[in-house]
Amino acid sequence: MLAIRKLSFRYPTANVAALDDVSFEAQRGEVLGLLGPNGAGKTTLIAHLTGLLPIQHGDITLDQQPLGAARARQPTRIAVAPQEYAFYPSLSVAENLACFAGAGSLSGHAKKSRIAECLAFAQLERYATVRADRLSGGLKRRLNLAIALLHRPELLLFDEPTVGVDPQSRAFLLEAIQQLAQDGCAVIYTSHYMEEVEAIADRVVILDQGRVLRQGVLSELLATGATQLQLAVEGDALERLQTLLSPFGDVAPQGAGVQLTLASRRDFAAVIAALDAAGLVVSHARFGHADLEQLFMSLTHHSLRD
């Protein structure tokens, strides 16, 4: 549905590009996790998709149509639920929905019924007459979501949609977003909470310093880390452990134990046998599926960002 090809962008006063040769696609019915540390270029990318920044290099298409033309014909095909509470605090929930519904040219009965549907979807009916600035953090996030859904968008962008909400609201929002994808929307989801992305994303794009570092199906990306074995043994045997494991691959100290990158997944059984033969008792072992946070941190090199 959405295709971004070789997109580059540099702000007028910046020395380096905010986006550099970025390419990826988002499909209907799937959640695409867009990950990146601060300054990676996520906000710039979202600003392109919502028409707030012009395309300098590369192109963005929506169902093979240039984004500009598609937006000119129907700007509401893409909706964004931004990180901020992008609504009017002094207006009530219903008044906010009416404002953004009208701004997208909904009117009359269609407007009324769509507002009712969105209130129901976000479970905000009880709060329709409450001023937005008097809502809790979770309810504000739900209002952000409801506004984004008003015009039945085909592509939904969620920018850190669960920041500052309680676990119940977070679970509700994640379920709602998955439901939207199942209903046929294309969803792009950015978050710093890796476990959230891991829980709902079908595919992942990892951005850093304006470039795509890695992208692909989440399970495949995580499988690439499946040759890493984390081990710790009882007693003061760290040096012995390192010596023993070095024939099986690269060994690096990690906390009280080591991290062994196996040359082959099939060596796992041999490692355990070698430990047993050496009389070492395993106190901690972790092998198989790497998690997204490990992958993300290894790709973005742990360094602090602005």
Binding site: L52, E84, S90, L91, A98, G102, G104, S105, H151
Partner: protein
């Protein structure tokens, strides 16, 4: 789309109690307070000034002077024991001091020298009132002297001295309504213009808020164009300015007389000219507000820049200090203030029965100013949102 956006503006404004107060209550209070407080400055009530008499001369001419003064200025207050302190503190506006020997000097036609009748006034007495009182004292003294002279001339001149006390064949009157307004005539249009320009704080405040929270970006992403967003702010505030105008004029016409002040008369007002002026002022005010709103980045900037601009324009433009009391240099500077264009146009309509043609210069300048501000606002808006 526009209707939804306009409704949002009005709803947000209606929930902003401080903004509503600044737009509706503040100018109303200013009109009432300033009109009542400055009533005597615009139309000094010389007859009601509290005064006392110190008559140290028991002669006939001195008595006549005191009597004639009382006839013009009203009855004198009883003389306080420490009358000098009373005058210095302003509780007595002045004392008419007739020194011993006044009658003798008056009767002696050849006499010159030190004054024998003095007006001793409080320090803050208005200059024009001071001069008026001084001239009246001179006039009465001159009249008494002429009467004395005629009384001593041979009867064959056949001049009746009492005729001199009658009305002289001179008069002073204003051409219809003159250029110098009363307190209400000055303060209603002045503070109305000031209040209309105060939309800058409300517009800028909401604009900063919706830009900071991302609501404006969200509206843009829904397809709202910059001109639609700007027009959606102009129209509601034109209506707000209209309500302000109706309210302030109503205060002048009905409320002021009811609380003891002078009333504003709209009889003979050219309504077309009045509406044209109000529209021009409103366009200028809203456009300036939009330019400021697009220029500032934070609430703090919005809350300070707008009011500072307003107060400066008001101070220079004749709102706080009427143009007719300014020296020529300041009057020239005032001519560059949009508030002055608005105020002069309104005074033209309300005071001089001006028609549409007579307010075209002021309305044209305001419209030009509005166009310039809108262009700036539009340019900034496209860059910053």
């Amino acid at each position: 789309m526009l209707l939804a956006l306009m409704k949002k503006e009005l709803l947000a404004l209606s929930r902003d109690i401080h903004g509503m107060g600044a737009l509706f209550i503040m100018p109303m209070v200013f009109i009432i307070v300033m009109s009542m407080a400055l009533k005597d400055v615009y139309t000094p009530a010389t007859k009601s000034l509290a005064y006392a008499v110190v008559n140290q001369d028991q002669g006939k001419t001195a008595t006549q002077l005191v009597e004639r003064w009382a006839k013009e200025a009203g009855a004198a207050q009883p003389l306080p024991e420490k009358w000098q302190d009373e005058v210095r503190s302003g509780r007595l506006k002045y004392v008419l001091l007739v020194e011993a020997g006044f009658s003798k000097v008056m009767d002696d036609l050849g006499s010159q020298g030190e004054a024998k009748a003095r007006l001793l006034t409080e320090p803050g007495l208005d200059n024009s009132v001071f001069e008026t009182r001084r001239m009246r004292l001179l006039a009465i003294a001159a009249q008494l002297r002429v009467e004395g002279l005629l009384a001593r001339l041979p009867r064959k001149l056949n001049v009746n001295a009492s005729a001199l006390t009658g009305d002289a064949p001179v008069a002073a009157e204003r051409m219809a309504q003159g250029p110098r307004p009363t307190a209400v005539q000055q303060n209603v249009p002045a503070w109305l213009v000031f209040g209309m320009f105060f939309v800058v704080a409300s517009i800028a405040g909401l604009f900063v808020e919706e830009r900071a929270c991302g609501a404006l970006a969200r509206l843009r992403s829904l397809g709202a164009r910059p001109w639609q967003l700007i027009v959606s702010k102009i129209c509601p505030y034109l209506a707000v300015n209209g309500v302000q105008a109706a309210l302030m004029l109503a205060v002048g016409v009905w409320l002021m007389p009811w609380i003891g002040g002078e009333g504003l008369s709209l009889q003979g007002v050219h309504w077309g000219a009045l509406l044209l002026m109000l529209l021009a002022i409103s366009l200028a005010a809203v456009s300036l507000a939009l330019a400021v709103a697009c220029l500032v980045s934070t609430h703090a900037q919005a809350a300070t820049l707008g009011p500072i601009l307003n107060v400066l324009m008001a101070a220079l433009g004749g709102v706080m200090v009427p143009l007719f009391v300014m020296p020529p240099v300041m009057q020239k500077i005032a001519a560059y203030s949009p508030m002055n264009w608005g105020l002069e146009g309104l005074l033209n309509v309300l005071l001089r029965s001006g028609d549409v043609a007579s307010v075209l210069p002021q309305a044209g300048r305001l419209a030009g100013f509005a166009m310039l501000m809108l262009m700036i606002a539009f340019g900034l808006f496209r860059r910053r949102v």
